[in-house]
C-alpha cells in the first residue's frame, strides 16, 4: 500500500513538473515528455502490472486537465506502460541503453498514436511535417532527458523494492512484484 502511495506521489510530482517547469525548458516549443519516461521506464523495471497502473494514472491526470476526449490519454499511457512491462523479464539491468531505446520506442508510439487519432482523423494529412517537427524532436529531447533521469528512476525502483520488503506479510497488496514474477515463471 505504502509502495502504491509512493508511486502515486511520484506520478503527481512528475505531472506537475511536466506542465510547469518542463514547459519553460522547451526548445523550439518542444518539451520532453517526463510522464512518458516514468511510465515507460518504471513499467520496464517493475513489470506490466505496475506499468499499466502508472500509465493509467498518468494518462488520467492529463485527461482531467488537458483532455479533449476523456480517457484517450489514459488508454494510450496505459498501453505504453503495459507494453514496456511485457519486456520486464528480459533486461533487468542498470545498463541504460535498452531503457533508452525503450523510451524512444514508447515516445514514437505515443507520437504516432496522437497523430493518427487526433490529427489524421481530422484530415491533417501532412505526416512528414508532423513527424519531423513534433514527433522526432520530442523523441530526441525525451531520450536526452532519459539519460539524465534514468539513474534516479533506477534508484527509485530500488527504493520501492526495499519498501516492499519492509511491508508486513499481512498487509500484502493484491500483488507484489515477486508474485508477479512467480506467476510469469509458472506461465512459462
Amino acid at each position: 500500500m505504502k509502495r502504491r502511495l509512493v508511486v502515486g506521489l511520484l506520478v503527481i510530482v512528475c505531472f506537475i513538473l511536466q506542465c510547469t517547469v518542463f514547459k519553460t525548458l522547451s526548445l523550439a516549443s518542444i518539451s520532453p515528455n517526463l510522464l512518458l519516461i516514468v511510465t515507460s521506464s518504471l513499467g520496464f523495471l517493475r513489470g506490466e502490472r505496475e506499468g499499466m497502473f502508472i500509465g493509467f494514472f498518468s494518462g488520467f491526470l492529463i485527461d482531467i486537465f488537458f483532455g479533449r476526449v476523456f480517457g484517450f490519454y489514459a488508454l494510450l499511457y496505459m498501453f505504453i506502460g503495459y507494453g514496456s512491462g511485457l519486456f520486464h523479464m528480459m533486461f533487468y539491468d542498470e545498463d541504460i541503453k535498452l531503457p533508452m531505446f525503450w523510451v524512444a520506442l514508447s515516445d514514437l508510439v505515443y507520437g504516432l498514436c496522437v497523430y493518427f487519432f487526433l490529427f489524421l482523423m481530422r484530415s491533417k494529412f501532412d505526416f512528414g511535417y508532423y513527424f519531423t517537427h513534433i514527433v522526432m524532436p520530442e523523441l530526441i529531447y525525451t531520450v536526452a532527458v532519459t539519460i539524465l533521469v534514468y539513474r534516479m528512476i533506477w534508484k527509485f525502483n530500488a527504493f520501492l523494492d526495499r519498501l516492499e520488503e519492509e511491508t508486513p506479510a499481512g498487509m500484502a497488496s493484491i500483488t507484489t512484484d515477486l508474485g508477479q514474477t512467480e506467476n510469469k515463471t509458472e506461465e512459462l
Binding site: 503527481i12 506537475i16 513538473l17 511536466q18 506542465c19 510547469t20 517547469v21 514547459k23 519553460t24 523550439a28 516549443s29 518542444i30 518539451s31 515528455n33 510522464l35 506490466e48 502490472r49 499499466m52 493509467f56 491526470l61 492529463i62 485527461d63 482531467i64 486537465f65 488537458f66 483532455g67 479533449r68 476526449v69 476523456f70 480517457g71 484517450f72 489514459a74 488508454l75 496505459m78 498501453f79 503495459y82 496522437v114 497523430y115 487526433l118 490529427f119 481530422r122 491533417k124 501532412d126 511535417y129 508532423y130 517537427h133 513534433i134 524532436p137 520530442e138 520488503e165 506479510a169 500484502a172 493484491i174 500483488t175 507484489t176 515477486l178 508474485g179 508477479q180 512467480e182 506467476n183
Partner: protein, 285 residues
C-alpha cells in the same frame, strides 16, 4: 517473501477492463460531454497550489533565460537596426499621415471601448498542455470566480481563446492557435466573414490560418484587422484576433484563405482576462 494471494487477478484481465473503461469514457465524453467534473474538482485542490508555486519559480527562471537570450540578440541586431533607423525616419513622416487616418477608423469602430462593457476576471496561467501537439493551458481561476465553459479569454489587445472546462479553482483554456480551435471572424473594415483556425504547422511561425474569407472586391489587404464576428455563438463580437498577413484565392475561385498574425504574443503569455459574460446572456439582456 513468497506472497501469493488467492484473489490474484491476471494482469491481462485488468488491462482489458481498464482499456474497456477508457473506451467507454471516451464514448461517454464524446456523446454527452462528460469531462470528469467531480474528478476535476477534487484534483484541482491537489494540483493548483503546487502549480501556482512552481509557476512562480518557472517564471523567474524564464525571465533570466530570456534576459540572456535577449542580450545576444540585441548586440547582433544593433548594427543592423542602426542602418534602418535613417530609412525609417523618412518613412515615419509618411506613416504619420496614415496613422491619423487609422485613428479615425478606430474611433469609428470603437474597438477598444467595446471591451469595456464586459465584466472581466484576471487570471494567471499556471500550467500548459503536457504534450507538444496542442496549445491549451490551465488558469488559476474557476467556478468559484464565476468562470464557466465557453467564456472568452483575452489578453492585452486581443483574443486568446475560450474556456473549455472549469473546476472549482481552475479552468482549461483552448487558445486560438490550438489545432482544434475554430473561430468565426470578420474583416473589421469590410465585415467580410471568414473562419480563423489554429494550425500546428503555422504555430512555429506564430501565425494562424484564415479560411473561407468571402472577399469579392479584393478589399482585404495586409495589416487588415480581423475580429470575432457577429455570427459566432460563443465569441463576443469585435474582439481583435490579429492582423491579416497574406491571403490568396482558393481553388474554388470564390473564397480566400491565408494567414493572420495574432494580436497576442502566445509565447510570453502569463496573465489573461476572462470575460465572464457569456454571449448568450448579453444578447438576452
Amino acid at each position: 517473501m513468497k506472497k501469493k494471494n488467492n484473489y490474484f487477478i491476471p494482469t491481462k484481465y485488468i488491462f482489458a477492463a481498464l482499456a474497456a473503461l477508457c473506451i467507454v469514457m471516451m464514448f461517454a465524453s464524446y456523446t454527452t460531454g462528460f469531462a470528469g467534473e467531480t474528478l476535476g474538482k477534487m484534483s484541482g485542490y491537489v494540483f493548483v497550489p503546487f502549480e501556482m508555486g512552481i509557476n512562480n519559480i518557472g517564471g523567474w527562471i524564464r525571465e533570466k533565460k530570456d534576459n540572456l537570450a535577449d542580450l545576444t540578440v540585441a548586440q547582433a541586431k544593433n548594427e543592423e537596426l542602426q542602418a534602418q533607423v535613417d530609412e525609417l525616419i523618412m518613412e515615419n513622416s509618411r506613416l504619420m499621415q496614415s496613422q491619423y487616418r487609422l485613428q479615425e477608423f478606430e474611433e469609428l469602430y470603437a474597438l477598444d471601448q467595446g471591451y469595456e462593457q464586459f465584466n472581466k476576471v484576471a487570471a494567471n496561467i499556471i500550467a500548459t498542455d503536457s504534450g507538444n501537439w496542442f496549445n491549451t493551458f490551465v488558469i488559476d481561476k474557476g467556478k468559484n470566480d464565476g468562470i464557466e465553459a465557453d467564456m472568452n479569454v483575452i489578453a492585452g489587445s486581443g483574443l486568446v481563446g475560450i474556456v473549455t472546462k472549469s473546476g472549482d479553482n481552475w479552468a482549461q483554456v483552448r487558445s486560438v492557435i490550438d489545432d482544434m480551435s475554430n473561430v468565426s471572424a470578420q474583416v473589421l473594415s469590410t465585415s467580410d466573414l471568414c473562419f480563423v483556425k489554429g494550425d500546428l504547422q503555422l504555430m512555429d511561425q506564430g501565425l494562424i490560418r484564415i479560411e473561407e474569407l468571402k472577399d469579392p472586391n479584393d478589399l482585404a489587404i495586409q495589416g487588415e484587422k480581423i475580429v470575432t464576428s457577429h455570427v459566432s455563438d460563443k465569441y463576443h463580437e469585435g474582439i481583435l484576433i490579429g492582423y491579416l498577413n497574406e491571403v490568396s484565392l482558393d481553388s474554388n475561385n470564390l473564397t480566400k484563405s491565408g494567414t493572420i498574425t495574432p494580436a497576442v504574443d502566445f509565447e510570453h503569455l502569463h496573465m489573461v482576462l476572462v470575460i465572464t459574460d457569456l454571449k448568450q446572456t448579453v444578447e438576452e439582456s
